[in-house]
Amino acid sequence: MSDVTAERAIPDTPPAEENYLTAGTSLASWLLTTDHKRVALLYMATITVFFFLGGAAAVMMRIELVTPQGDLLSDDAYNRAFTFHGVVMVWFFLIPSIPNILGNFLLPLMIGAKDLAFPRLNLLSWYIFVIAGILAIYTLLAGGVDTGWTFYTPLSTAFANGQVLAAAAAVFVAGFSTIATSVNFIATVHLLRAPGLTWLRLPLFVWAIYATSIVMVLATPVLAMVLLLIFAERAFGIPIFDPLRGGDPILFQHLFWFYSHPAVYIMILPSFGVISELVTCFARRRVFGYNFMVYAILWIALVGFLVWGHHMFVSGQSMLANLVFSFLSFVVAVPSAIKVFNWTSTLYRGQIVFDAAMIYALGFIGLFTIGGLTGLFLASVPVDVHVTDTYFVVAHFHYIMVGGAVSALYGGLTFWWPKITGRMHPESWARFAAILMFFGFGFTFFPMFIMGFLGMPRRYHIYAPEYQIWHVLASAGAVLLAVAYLLPMGYFGWSLFRGRRATANPWGATGLEWQTSSPPPKENFFAPPVVLQGPYNYHPEHAGPPSLEREPHEPQGGPTERAP
């Protein structure tokens, strides 16, 4: 494949015209930028810090859990570690990761716009995020929280002695950043599409980000509200959830999961978009069933709001409610299945190349399928009663959100890295990391399904000895996984300085973002693109890709004129 690699890189001369990276080098030019591409990089830096912090907490837990006794951490320290891990990974890593890094960078490029609809709001949302992040770190320094990321009442309002208010404030503030970003994305997709880019010509990544933004706008206020109620009860003693004073602890769970189930889709929908871009490009095929892919995204976004009660099958909820939520949870599984089938069928009669990004995408499909299928177990009330609040659930959602969303993030970064930085990453290292990530993930989390089914409850600092073997396996796998996560940071960093310069379109992809230079100029395009057809035209309409040559494929936008 050396011929292909050679085509992707160009001689190492600094790019002739100015690009968004060279358009200003002072600190202020970064901290006061309104360029969506720079804001995306600001987010990338911040989110990486939180990925490290959340990951460090996970490492401590995995080390602690090697033995059944508590030997590294005290009870409280362990409880604080998993709470910190959950809060940081959910709100400061997973939720913002793909939308705010890749979405921010790519959305305007993919629709042929110069920037987001509200560039300054975009910068503001980063600052809000940073404030929230500082609050989260303050929470840690001030001693941490010991409620779990779910903040269940009355534990969080009346009994926990950690920094519940600080943690709640951090999440509350982060919510405003989320809302600002999503409003911006929605407006951008509505207002700034290039001429000819109709809704059903949008790349699936844009659809995914758009649907995610709608879920964010609708769900996040509910989170803000329930956090305010926690504040009212804990700080001012106003009984909302305290049953001894007329409150209802279950009310909290309804409100919390009304947000947090859609939040699962906030975390996974964007990766659906990423995977659709990757699979089509490296299989050189039009996506199978484009319309169904769009409907599936919208269906998930809608029905995702109606299934929160599946987190409460053992909470004392009525039988009728259990059955209704169980039914809806089964129904919401259908569109996810469609997506998996369609990605698989996209490979059929393709011309598949196993570049690193594609390996990530294939790994994603495998892991997401396992995560989704185990969701069927949890949607069945009698089985859920047994495995809820055990490691089975831990394994299930890590398969979706880590095996799924994080693999997609790494895959997406690998794919768009040349566009973002103008440099190629070392391909063989990237493939190695992608394979290691897949297996490391499996070794870490598959044992958790087994121990969960055997009855190992989650959030246990010490545990019964019969579960040790599974914990040891998981901890050993976590070592591989940690290496797989750190490796790309190493070679991405290296490529920034030593990587070969990328061509405008190293993968021969069709999206508009590839029709401009790598890295793009500040204004994204030298001449405003015009769109004449739908996405993924990797081969003529009633044909397929040839077996060997990469051409012909037609970029989505008409060829853009270079500025003189």
Partner: protein, 312 residues
């Protein structure tokens, strides 16, 4: 340490749930094989450079297949829902003759009381073959009663009673866990469930020392000593109602405000003249000498136990 892949199965429900679980394993296993198989097949057959036939997709693949598997997955989902749902409905109600055991959870222990008054902590003895119904409540945060071998789990809530039932089918010792995170020592909040032959259970229950029930005995004293005559809500005497007194701020006749802690309650009984509640005549007689320390403890425990009920 033996390597078990399947948890012990020790209740009637467990057998049913395992049936459903196995069914799900088979169905999802097949789907996974299908997806993984197709992925592998396509990846090998259509990798760049192979001579496999490419070109346009056959017409039927483009629409019918998509509609077909959408319908098929929907149908499969509905079928699984029906299976799980009927199982759940069938198992929901405890049989009327079930043995009723009361369980109280608190940070970080389980307390159980059997119908004959036998009590135990972090342990539960139950007869084999009989339906057992647990009526549970919590004194502080939410806990969850979980016995993996029975495949049952139920959250235990403060200020509310939740129930669950099971019919043990195999004698032996099984682990009991708290499954809902409940604070510092959550992972230590567990114990053992012992399933015994019914005869053994009967003799075990009879042999249990009837543990003290301070508040219960205090309640009896409260009536016996005549406290109720003045303090009962319906009493003709003008005396404060004691529901919820513990922990409350009390305004006294001399203008002070004090918290009704344990010491205050003791004083109120032994030296009622010292802290007279505002708005009441100092007519309460001193009980110093009439009640010994043990009785005093019982009375105070009873007054403390009135705490929750008032608010409910």
């Amino acid at each position: 340490m033996s390597l078990a892949l399947w948890p012990a199965t020790a209740s009637e429900q467990a057998a049913h749930i395992d049936g459903l679980f196995t069914g799900l394993l088979v169905v999802t296993g097949l789907i996974l094989l299908l997806v993984a198989g197709l992925l592998l097949l396509f990846c090998i057959r259509y990798r760049r450079g192979t001579q496999a036939k490419r070109g346009d997709l056959p017409e039927f693949l483009r629409r019918d297949v998509e509609l077909g598997w959408t319908a098929a997955t929907l149908f499969l989902a509905l079928f699984l829902f029906w299976w799980a749902g009927t199982l759940e409905l069938r198992a929901s109600m405890a049989p009327p003759e079930a043995l009723e055991i009361h369980v109280v959870a608190k940070q970080w222990m389980w307390k159980a009381r059997h119908p004959n008054g036998a009590r135990e902590i972090d342990a539960l003895h139950v007869p084999r073959g009989e339906a057992v119904r647990l009526v549970m409540t919590s004194q502080d945060v939410i806990h969850s009663f979980y016995v993996p071998a029975f495949r049952v789990k139920q959250d235990v809530l403060p200020g509310r009673f939740t129930e669950m039932w099971f019919r043990p089918t195999r004698t032996g010792e099984y682990r009991l866990f708290c499954a809902e995170f409940c604070g510092t020592q959550h992972s230590r909040m567990g114990g053992m469930v012992t399933v015994m032959e019914p005869e053994d259970y009967a003799s075990w229950a009879a042999a249990q020392p009837q543990e003290q029930d301070l508040p219960g005995e205090g309640e009896a004293l409260f009536t016996a000593l005549g406290c109720a005559g003045c303090h009962a809500p319906a009493s003709a005497v003008h005396a404060p109602v004691l529901q919820g007194v513990y922990g409350r701020m009390v305004h006294l006749a001399d203008g002070r405000t004090v918290r009704a802690d344990q010491a205050y309650l003791r004083d109120s009984i032994l030296q009622p003249q010292r802290d007279v509640v505002a708005g009441y005549a100092p007519i309460m007689p001193s009980f110093a000498g009439l009640v010994d320390e043990a009785d005093l403890q019982r009375l105070v425990a009873y007054l403390q136990s009135l705490r929750g009920e008032a608010a409910r």
